[in-house]
């Protein structure tokens, strides 16, 4: 046995492999992108094919303000993660909380829009093809935003308790990848629903 050990090859001078958290998150993002793609395809396929009921042009109002909120939150989380990488915990926490507020504002905007659509314009998921595809696609995205917000709040709680330092920077980066993904999906959903679909 030990004779064999002498024949073991020399280890290479450097052996650096990618970070597994990031690879795993990239894998999750790929899978989620595939799910969203199918909902987007269904939405586009059914544009103009509803037999009844309100059309997008009649009832949709473009959510510019809330979109700006969500996309800005990508900026704030990016800088939050960078701050943490330099162990600037105060800046990190501040930017992190702003991110949560921006994301929460977006969710509020979605809730408000849905309330208006359902109670004032009579558009529900069962009204017609537009209703089905609209609520499913936007709802799926909103669900992912919510999941992200829950994770962000958890991190905020740990940060307020003083447990988040530069050592946790890698994990925070992985979470911010997810948040960037959610924002990128919104760019697609926004384009498909509020620009192309009208």
């Amino acid at each position: 046995m030990s004779a064999m050990a002498n024949l073991m090859p020399q280890a290479p001078a450097t052996w650096r492999l990618p970070d597994r958290g990031k690879v795993a998150m990239a894998g999750l993002i790929i899978a989620e992108s595939a799910i969203f793609t199918i909902f987007v395809v269904a939405y586009l396929f059914y544009v103009g094919k509803s037999l009844t009921g309100p059309t997008p042009r009649e009832v949709l109002e473009t959510p510019i303000f809330y979109t700006i909120c969500l996309l800005s939150s990508s900026l704030t989380i990016h800088f939050a993660a960078k701050s943490l990488a330099r162990d600037r915990v105060g800046a990190f926490l501040g930017l992190w909380l702003v991110t949560i507020v921006l994301g929460g504002t977006f969710m509020y905007g979605t809730a408000q829009e849905w309330h208006r659509l359902i109670y004032e314009r009579g558009l529900t998921i069962s009204t017609n093809l537009f209703g089905t595809t609209y609520y499913s696609l936007v709802g799926l995205h909103a669900f992912h935003v919510t999941a992200g917000l829950v994770m962000l709040c958890l991190v905020a709680i740990f940060a307020v308790a003083g447990r988040v330092r530069v050592q946790q920077s890698r994990r925070v980066e992985v979470l911010s990848m997810y948040w960037h993904f959610v924002d990128a999906v919104w760019v697609v959903v926004f384009t498909v629903v509020y620009v192309l679909g009208r």
């Binding site: 492999l17 597994r20 795993a24 894998g27 899978a31 989620e32 799910i35 998921i125 499913s136």
Partner: protein, 557 residues
Amino acid sequence: MSSNAITIPGVQLDEKPWVDTLHEWVTTVDHKRLGVLYILYALLFLVVAGVEALIIRIQLMFPHNHFVSPQVFNRLFTLHGTTMVFFMGMPILFGFANYLVPLMIGARDMAFPRLNAFSFWLSALGGFLLYFSLVGANGLYGAGNAPDVGWWAYAPLTARAFSPGHSTDYWTLALLISGFGSIGTAINIIATILCMRCPGMKLNRMPLLAWLNLVMSGMVLLAVSPLTAAQFMLLIDRYLGGHFFDTQAGGSAMLWMHFFWIFGHPEVYILIIPCFAFMSEIIPVFSRKPIFGYPVMVAATVCIGFVSMSVWAHHMFSVGMNSYANSFFTITTMAVGVPTGIKIFNWLGTMWGGRIQFKVPMLFCIAFLFQFLIAGLTGVMLGSAAFASQLTLSYFVVAHFHYTLVGGVVFGVFAAIYYWYPKITGRMLNETLGKLHFWLFLIGFHLTFDLMHIPGLLGMPRRIYTYEPGRGWDTLNLLISVGGFIQAIAVVILVANLVISYFKGKKAGNDPWDAWTLEWATSSPPPAYNFASIPVVASRRPLWDLKHPEDPDSQYE
């Protein structure tokens, strides 16, 4: 390899109470134990789905037979297909991937052991949920509420109007849940392979099994997700009044078909690619030569991964797509046959000039090669849209896909079982029983699935619980059913072998087959931490280099 030093010979440890063992297994996050759990789970469902198949074949032995009612028959073929794909095929291949990938890349475990366990239990829940449907709402008599919509669950048959009750919902939820498990495992495999290889193991030195599981996992991410999405849409239709597939509201039944087959076709490649991996590991060892054309084998697999995502509508050649669409899917389907054929030639090239040992794993591999050749060629026939307009939805297709799934996947899995059982348990499987299993299964397989092509050519459609006499189908169906029973006997022999050899089999030692990849460098079974010290490699066959220091692979790569 000093990993033998972990057990101190001659020392008897106290017998552990069985509850402790049970607890360890239920709470394990060790990739080897989870791998074994996946494999045992799948073998259980192999038997269950096999029994379903036998009942189907008894019903079809004679025209106008009354062994089971049409309602029960339709539930049987739905359960058989769903179980074999999702609760036998996927779990057993994930099980082998789980067990082998970390060992083969010189790692101590998967990248995310807890995610690994979570994914397994999700998949287990899915299987349980599917079978709970038998007792679900209506009780066991008359097979209760098991789904009866076929394993593709075409719309609008799955709408509330045509499938009242909860049978379709059990199908949907069981697969949704196990789908999340599959995605979790796929992410885990990708992260493990990309991030946890031992020093010196560059990507082009990885065993082909690792490469192929990497490709397969990437495909899982891209393919299972569309099914997940479509199933959410189905649930929205059934419970929230949605209209995704509601043809009365302008919805499209074809949309379900597209979404399903965008999953369904890559799925079958997901099932076969790990079996290609088994071939690429086992054939070289029993031919005593390295795999012929390693780089091309990798390239061909990646090619298959990509191209197979563009062929899905060859399952829809009868639905009335226009001639351009039919032509497109014809060319892509035939194109995917090219890299697949290349692999067969490379395995042929591996055996060529070798010194073939006809141990049981190799017998299954050789049968695989012949069978996959035939399956590939009938696949080319089915890929020709015009020819397929006659062949599709008939028993010719049933014969084709069983040729790939049984003749390919099951034979590949059997080869893997005989090859790695010694590593997993520390004991050899009985060679005589193994050969008996092989020959019986081979004869039964060919009796059933060779003949099955013919009723298809004679116009017998699929998914029928009975048929008219005098169309030339009668005798063929009888013989096909007989073959099923022969295969059943063979599987019984396998199960007996697995159990008996666990207690009485010959001790295997580290490396019973004189093989070359890292899993054979540690003890059988490996210790919990796999290797005493993380190995360092300089070639694709580290153990060949150690055994042949005068002629190491590292000189040639």
